[in-house]
Amino acid sequence: MKSIIAFVSILLMFVLVIPANAGGKEELQKHFKNIANKVKATENATEKREILNESFQKMSKALNTLESTGMISDKDQVGIDGLKATMQENQDDAGKNGFERVSDNQLNNFSDYVVQNMEQAEMITISLVSLLLIIILVVLLV
């Protein structure tokens, strides 16, 4: 009898606890927060720059790969274009494409800027599926 009660209780716990819907945007935010943490954990400015550049490149590559599948809607395309523009701007700030790069002592703040810019970004036009695909691609494109 006790085992049945325990079983039913566990079953009820699973049913009653509403699974949190970890949205795609949330996952993207976490991804960039992890990048910022890595940047801050490194003393060497060159390494900081490498971490940032690598993450921007991965993200851009993931967005291009997703686009090339031809599976994305017009609505998603608008959001993806916005994300690509943001990545381009970040890469410019990091010193790519001939732009004045962020100074060494500002790289930690810059990594926070990237996270906060993402927190403020309106990615409402990107579907949850596409956002999750972006994250999967970022992880796969090592």
């Binding site: 509403i18 608008v78 409402i124």
Partner: protein, 372 residues
């Protein structure tokens, strides 16, 4: 016989167990479907309070969207929950205030199918919790009917002149369309006109709010400020992005000191300055907090309103995909808005983003327009 008895007892236990579970579930389902769950009256005699009321404050906290952010220590935070905690602190620490708090929450389900109530209302008076109620929000167009009705049901009727303050926290409120504002309800619409209608409902017994704080991105447009200005004397809003939960409200915690002389406009400037300082300390992105003196901005609004409205009409005809490509910009960047009255009645606290393409923008007019 003993075996039969044991089996009977065992079966009876099973039946009792499942009946109990069924009853518990039915109770939960019925309570979640009830339209009028009884109010949790926390204080039995709220009307008999001896302290007079000087301040009446309404918080609307939208929590049905993506309000996640990371603080400087890397902690994962839900902005609406932070704002709710701050609102409750303000309610508890002001013995001469009544505070209405409406927390608009995401939809949740019991057993995957049964919707649970998606709003929670708190009413504090004289620093004490008087009522706490779960409620259903409007399911289609957001008229905020419950919020207005609850306000009129509980508000303290007094011959004294109250200082009325309204605060809204949420994402950018659309000036048209409005579908998708709530993450859980794609069909539900919410626009700045809906919010203005709500303000009209709140202010049916007094002319205007003394102060309105719009804690959302891109609130400082001629249309939005004009709409809210019909029901407010002073408005604090941001014409740019406003980073989630960094509006600084700690001066609200001691209204008897900070609003001692009832000078709401000075109080608004203090709140704006403190918010600006908190934001610039914590975020690297663009920061803008503006105080609008509704009477003094009228000449500017009168000059540009038709222009701005015609832009909105054009934008309304666009598809959502095309609309997403239209950016916001400082009104001062558009020739039609470059008029002498643009700086009248606005007190601007501005710092450009530390990085990115707008890092060299030194000034802001305090007004946001569409680059169209």
């Amino acid at each position: 016989m003993q075996i039969l008895h044991n089996r009977f007892v065992k079966n009876r236990n099973y039946v009792l167990l499942f009946v109990s579970i069924g009853f518990a579930m039915l109770t939960l389902i019925l309570s979640s479907c009830s339209a009028n769950i009884p109010v949790q009256q926390v204080s039995q005699n709220p009307v008999d309070s001896l302290l007079e009321i000087k301040y009446s404050i309404i918080f609307i906290i939208h929590g049905n969207g993506d309000y996640l952010y990371f603080d400087n220590s890397g902690n994962q935070i839900e902005a609406d929950e932070v704002t709710l905690t701050e609102a409750i602190r303000i309610a508890l620490q002001n013995p001469y205030a009544e505070v209405f708090i409406f927390h608009q929450k995401p939809t949740q389900h019991f057993l995957f199918f049964f919707s649970l109530k998606d709003g929670e209302f708190y009413y504090y008076r004289n620093g004490k919790l008087i009522a706490n109620e779960l409620y259903w929000r409007d399911q289609e167009k957001s008229n905020l009917d419950f919020e207005v009705a609850a306000y009129h049901r509980y508000r303290k009727v007094t011959p004294n002149k109250l200082i009325n303050i309204f605060l809204y926290f949420g994402h950018e409120i659309p000036e048209f369309g409005g579908a998708g504002y709530d993450e859980s309800y794609s069909e539900r619409t919410f626009t700045i006109d809906d919010l203005a209608n709500e303000l009209k409902g709140f202010t049916s017994d007094f002319s205007k709010f003394d102060l309105t704080i719009l804690g959302s991105c891109f609130g400082g447009t001629p249309y939005t400020i004009n709409k809210l200005g019909s029901y407010s004397n002073t408005i604090i809003a941001s014409p740019e992005n406003l980073h989630l939960s960094y509006f600084d409200l700690h001066s609200f915690e001691q209204l008897d000191i900070n609003l001692k002389d009832s000078d709401v406009h000075s109080f608004a400037n203090k709140i704006a300055r403190e918010s600006f300082e908190k934001l610039t300390k914590n975020v690297q992105t663009e920061v803008s907090v503006v105080v609008y003196d509704v009477e003094k901005i009228q000449p500017f609004i009168n000059c540009v309103y038709d222009n701005y409205n015609s832009t909105l009409i054009s934008l309304k005809g666009m598809t959502q995909e095309n609309l997403a490509t239209i950016e916001h910009c400082d009104c001062a960047d558009i020739p039609a808005y470059q008029i002498s009255t643009i700086n009248n009645g606005v007190n601007i606290f501005y710092r450009p983003a530390r990085f990115g393409r707008s890092k060299n923008k030194l000034n802001h007019s305090g007004w946001k327009c569409w680059k169209y």
